[in-house]
């Protein structure tokens, strides 16, 4: 599950791939949707949104957020433009 494979470090504005996770890869849209879901939880409202969608296949990391190398390796089916 993506909820267990990707973690969000709110303090350091990082999206991290869990090395103890399933090892599965996900589409960028799945990551985008998962992140959006997390960021409308009340305790996360103060944080800036990490990802914006330009289209169904092109996404951008924004607001100073980053993703680790393992995370990038486990993305497919789209482009995530990093800063």
């Amino acid at each position: 599950m993506i909820t267990q494979d990707f973690t969000i470090d709110f303090f350091n504005k990082k999206i991290l791939y869990n090395p103890k996770g399933s090892g599965n890869s996900y589409t960028v849209n799945e990551l985008y949707s998962y992140v959006q879901d997390r960021f409308d939880e009340p305790q996360n409202m103060r944080y800036d949104i990490p990802i914006e969608a330009e289209s169904k296949t092109i996404y951008h990391l924004v607001n100073g957020w980053t993703i680790d190398e393992e995370g990038m390796k486990h993305l497919k089916g789209g482009t995530l433009v990093t800063n």
Binding site: N12, N29, E30, S33, Q36, D40, P42, R46, A53
Partner: protein, 742 residues
């Protein structure tokens, strides 16, 4: 029956006949004895004229012989009420006079027993004019010289002068150059009348006639021509106070006028090592009203338009000082024998000795302006006079604090604008003088200008320890940090100024959206403490299981009285929100602690317990596994279960005890941090979330709205807004996110 008038001054002589006058020269010589000059009078057709001889530096005098004219009774100028001498004089050729410093024109009083042309052997002089300071006069050629004889003499007395046994007083003129025309010299010094007393102009009713300003003006300018009121092109200079009615009147006095006149309290000067004030203004420069117990007085200045709190005063009078620094005056409508003190649309400038009213029954002050005035005191009878729709500008005088308006715990004051220009540099708009613990309403009391340092919204002046709660309403904007405590440094003030924060969320079709997450915080750059950009730091003793959280800083007054405090466990890089029900000092107190136990069927994100949904648990609450000291955040609540974020350490809720509204960690003092959002939560079925904000100044805030799961997804919304005296009412339209697949 008719109105009667008292000026406070005795007209000793109108100078129509030579009978009580004599003349002489202190130096040089007079050309001839003083005589009656016809068709050149101040208080009548005639005056007394005197010519000096052709001698340089002649100093000639016209004196009124009080002793002789009063059956050999001396005048005691030290008696209260006698102190001021006023003399109409005219110098035909001021260019002949010496300067003020050299005694060009002087008031003289003698106590020796001489009369007529004999030079007195004991006298005092006050220099009142000179060729360098001759002033314009409203009465052609005439000038009313005044001296309060309590003032020190300009020059050393001659002989053993005594103020208590004055025989004569008059005016002198000292020449500095010789007249060069041929023939006998003309009269150059004239006296148009002499008065003494304390100048307070009083109109007293007859029980029938309504007195107006015109009655007083006619009496002064035409009937008596006493010079106490001068007409300067429609503005009136006062050398006296104004009093409506009398404490000893035998009929009621009713004064009513809506002609909007302007009165200016005049400055009179003389020489005493420089040009200084000749009068003790505080004894007679006033506007007041008096009545008798059986015959009371009613005063109405101006008129009223509108109704209820929308009433506005128009066409009142204007009272100004001619010199803010040197010429104070005051107003007093506190007599118990008044039936009305209606001051509508009246302007006060420089009433630095303050303005007093007393009763709600008689005091009705609407649309008045008080500029550079001493404290306005509405009194306490019936909670004091009504003060409505008035303006106070730059309070000055009366109190060391330059207080503007006394605001007792009970009052009838509303809709007042307080305006500061920054000068004077000490100003306290409100004077909270009541002692003890009390609440006071601040109904539409609005402050304009820059307040800081010693220019403040107010002061707690009671020496007795006071705890004041100011309840601001209807756009009032007092700020608790802008009140000093000069009475007792330990006193405290709290301002409750509740504004509504309202966010309405709709979609692009205009349909309201329920369960949208709304969040509002101060901008990250805001210097206030307690928001994400400048967090609180944890105090000592924030131990796991506590129902409170203590911070090290004072909590700003605009932090919600109830809300959510989010605490960051810095070492773990995680934060836990807690709902609090009260805050006091630096302590936030949570909802009552709840405990329970999972039924045994829970897992990492589900806690099952019968009727747990009836407990005070909502989305966003931190929940603690007290069995193993783990924690999670509630995501949703059902009747018999909770959904949470994964329990920390990947543990399970199965059969675990839990606690809500207690600290999930022992937080590290001075390391861990916390913040409080100004508004947070889900919109209701009407798409609305509301909250309260304790307003003190306009506040820029960041508003976020998100609904990115649970049905139709929307793009996140974020914008900067400003909370004003009207609060904040924001309508947000969310755009559908067609890409989010959740």
């Amino acid at each position: 029956m008719a109105l009667t008038f008292s000026t406070g001054m005795t007209v000793d002589d109108t100078a129509q006949a030579i009978t009580n006058f004599g003349g002489f020269a202190l130096t040089g010589a007079i050309d001839r004895a003083p005589s009656v000059i016809t068709s050149h009078g101040a208080m009548g057709a005639n005056c007394i004229g005197l010519a000096s001889d052709w001698i340089l530096t002649s100093s000639v005098v016209i004196m009124y012989d009080y002793f002789t004219s009063h059956a050999s009774t001396a005048l005691n100028l030290s008696t209260v009420g006698n102190e001021v001498i006023a003399i109409w004089f005219h110098v035909a050729d001021p260019g002949l006079c010496d300067t003020l410093v050299n005694g060009g024109v002087y008031i003289i009083a003698s106590s020796s027993t001489d009369t007529g042309a004999t030079v007195p052997t004991a006298y005092r002089r006050w220099y009142v004019s000179g060729k360098d300071v001759f002033r314009a006069t409203a009465k052609a050629q005439w000038y009313l010289a005044m001296i309060d004889t309590r003032k020190a003499a300009s020059v050393a007395d001659v002989g053993a002068f005594s103020l208590t046994t004055v025989h004569r007083f008059g005016i002198g003129q000292k020449n500095a150059i010789t007249e060069s025309v041929g023939g006998p010299p003309p009269e150059n010094l004239f006296v148009g009348g002499v008065q003494h007393g304390r100048p307070i102009y009083q109109v007293i009713g007859d029980g029938a006639i309504t007195a107006t300003w015109n009655d007083i003006l006619t009496h002064s300018l035409t009937t008596q021509q006493n010079g106490l009121i001068e007409n300067h092109g429609g503005a009136y200079k006062l050398s006296c106070g104004i009093r409506f009615g009398s404490a000893t009147q035998a009929a009621t006095t009713t004064f009513s006028d809506a002609t909007n006149p302007v009165f200016v309290f005049k400055r009179s000067t003389y020489y005493l090592a420089g040009e200084v004030d000749a009068l003790n203004y505080s004894d007679y420069y006033l506007v007041d009203a008096q009545g008798a117990a059986s015959f009371k007085t009613s005063v109405t200045l101006g008129s009223v338009v509108g109704t209820a709190d929308a009433r506005q005063g128009v066409k009142g009078s204007t009272f100004l000082t001619s010199d803010l620094t040197n010429v104070p005056f005051n107003a007093d409508f506190t007599s118990a024998n008044l039936t009305a003190a209606n001051l509508y649309g009246t302007r006060w400038f420089g009433a630095t000795r303050g303005i007093k009213f007393d009763s709600n029954l008689i005091g009705l002050v609407i649309s008045d302006t008080f500029q550079n005035c001493g404290e306005v005191d509405c009194g306490t009878v019936g909670s004091g006079a009504t003060l409505l729709n008035c303006t106070l500008i730059d309070p000055q005088g009366g109190t060391a604090q330059n207080n503007g308006l006394k605001l007792p715990s009970l009052h009838n004051i509303k809709n007042v604008s307080f305006i500061t220009s920054g000068t004077p540099t000490t100003q306290h708009m409100l004077d909270l003088s009541t002692s003890g613990a009390y609440s006071v309403t601040m109904d539409n009391l609005q402050f304009f200008g820059t307040y800081s340092g010693t220019v403040l919204h107010g002061d707690l002046s009671s020496a007795t320890l006071s705890t004041v709660t100011g309840n601001a309403t209807n756009g009032a904007n007092p700020n608790a940090t802008l009140f000093s405590k000069t009475g007792n440094a330990s006193s405290t003030i709290i301002i409750n100024n509740t504004k509504t924060l309202k966010v309405t969320v709709k979609n692009s079709s205009g349909t309201v959206l329920q369960d949208a997450q709304v969040y509002m915080q101060k901008l990250p750059t805001d210097t206030d403490v307690g928001h994400p950009g400048n967090r609180f730091t944890a105090g000592a003793g924030n131990t796991r299981g506590n129902g409170t959280f203590v911070v090290t800083q004072a909590v700003p007054s605009d932090i919600p009285s109830t809300g959510m405090i989010s605490v960051q466990n810095v070492a773990l890089g995680q934060e836990q929100p807690y709902r609090y029900t009260s805050k006091s000092g630096s302590t936030f107190t949570f909802n009552a602690a709840l405990t329970g136990t999972d039924s045994g069927t829970g897992n990492a994100t589900t806690l099952n317990e019968t009727n747990i949904g009836t407990k005070n648990i909502v989305e966003g609450d931190t929940i603690q596994n007290t069995t193993d000291n783990q924690w999670a955040i509630v995501l949703s609540v059902a009747t018999n279960s909770l959904t949470t974020t994964p329990l920390s350490n990947g543990a399970t809720w199965a059969a675990k005890a839990y606690s809500v509204h207690t600290l999930a960690f022992t937080y590290t003092s001075a390391v861990d941090t916390a913040y409080v959002p100004l508004l947070y939560g889900d919109t209701n079925a009407s798409g609305i979330l509301t909250g309260n904000y304790n307003y003190s100044v306009d506040k820029n805030v960041l508003v976020k709205v998100r609904k990115m799961s649970g049905g139709t997804n929307y793009l996140p919304y974020s914008s900067s807004q400003t909370i004003t005296t009207n609060g904040l009412d924001l309508s947000v339209t969310l755009t559908t996110d067609t890409i989010n697949a959740t």
